[in-house]
Symmetry: C2
Subunit: 274 residues, 2 copies
């Protein structure tokens, strides 16, 4: 199923003024005809490609790939990871879900626990939430005053610059859902006892501050979209579309690394195994 | 024994052109009269003060102190640590000697292993060699090309800015010895079998590149001396003078933190222990 139009339209250009409202949460313009069923074969094909590319990344052990996923509650962080990376060899990928910082983590700078988890050569690491919470949550929930969170914009930009210039490819994904879609998904969690563990009454407090979150996200995405670490705004009201777009971005990113399998200094035909 | 003149003269002002030759390796102008014996009581007094101050740092658990020590071989890194911090409670201080990076460390950005070791609240960490080797050694010994080491100046400056703005006090010390003094100290290691383990024939290769090292140090100290993380050039030909100056800088730095012992929410007199 060919893509209609360029996937680049979801990448935030660091030189332009960014407005979240320019991005529709239910856009499906790249795959206009049909829905989940029609596009499942293509998603499967992308998963296979991703598996192959990750295998090469691991074999070459030269590049590092860091994927940062941010979203509102129910935005689909877990679901995206599960769907897109389902075929990748677990040995070459690591998913790091950042929870509330521990006492030991809070006794250090906010990037301390983040830096520890960045990918090594040959590895893909996915941050499910990230250092961005140290601005987003901190700012919206008034956890620390402005003197604390304001300098962090620069710290994040420079930290990512360092990672990039030292050899890490950074992919940042904002899973963009509407407030109505969130309502449906939260209700679905309430309606299904098997999903109760995913529901937290505090999510409703965050939901009540929806507009504040959007304002902070908009500002943050503008200030931290750089050439070396751009944000992508993923239309995420439709799960199948979200997965397709993310899978496609991952495949394109890995292909862009122009990887080679390492060459050996022996000739296979010359070797006899007794 | 009162100090004659201000210890600030050894701090590199980030706004001025820096020349290493402006700093004498055998200066003793702050303690002009007498030598080691005459000043031992004062050094001991400083050690006691440092012990008290570190105790308060640990109790308050609010500030973090990072000390970075760089020097040529035999410059006195180990000796300074041993002398200056000899009375400090080992629980609140950690000495981190950075050796050649391991394979795992090299599979990450150069600041990965450094960041892991920065101090937590209430702690003093001393880097015996540091991230600066990732420019100094790399550049002088041509380990990586310019594209690799040049961006690291910015990465270091921004990394230290982040640490400082997040609450770490940074003290950087360059132990400045003359080439003649190094000759004597290397010879002393050769002459004493109990010191042979400290001698490495490769040190002579570094010695042969003395001028290259000085040039790189000069450039590096100028580019990485900042208001929030200034370098100090310590006259280090005389060990007793070096120790006095470093101890004094540490005491002044900790005093400058304006620490308080934490207050309790109970009154000691009201409590009876059965």
């Amino acid at each position: 199923m060919p893509v209609q139009g360029s996937i680049d339209k979801y990448r935030v250009d660091s030189k332009e003024k960014f407005k979240l409202s320019d991005y529709e949460t239910n856009d499906k313009s790249l795959f206009q005809h049909g829905g989940k069923e029609e596009h499942d074969p293509y998603l499967n094909q992308l998963r296979d490609e991703l598996k192959q590319l990750q295998n090469q990344l691991y074999a070459e052990s030269k590049h590092r790939v860091l994927v940062v996923i941010q979203a509102m509650d129910t935005g689909g962080k877990d679901g995206t990871v599960k769907s897109v990376f389902s075929k990748v060899d677990p040995q070459g990928i690591h998913i790091e879900p950042f929870k509330k910082p521990s006492e030991e983590e809070l006794a250090h700078d906010f990037l301390w626990r983040i830096h520890e988890k960045v990918p090594r050569n040959g590895q893909i690491v996915v941050f499910n939430r990230s250092h961005y919470e140290d601005i987003i949550a901190v700012r919206v929930k008034n956890i620390y005053p402005k003197e604390v969170w304001k300098p962090r914009y620069r710290h994040i930009v420079e930290f990512e610059r360092m990672l990039a210039e030292e050899g890490t490819t950074i992919v940042k994904l904002f899973l963009h859902i509407s407030k109505d879609e969130q309502k449906e998904r939260l209700q679905a969690r309430l309606d299904n006892p098997a999903k109760h563990w995913k529901f937290n009454p505090d999510d409703l407090k965050d939901r009540a501050r929806w507009d504040d979150f959007m304002e902070v996200y908009e500002d943050l995405i503008e200030k931290t979209s750089t050439e070396y670490a751009p944000w992508h705004i993923i239309p995420a009201d439709r799960k199948w579309y979200r997965n397709l777009v993310v899978a496609r971005i991952m495949v394109d990113t890995l292909k862009g690394l122009d990887m080679k399998f390492p060459t050996s200094d022996w000739i296979a035909e010359d070797i006899t195994i007794d």
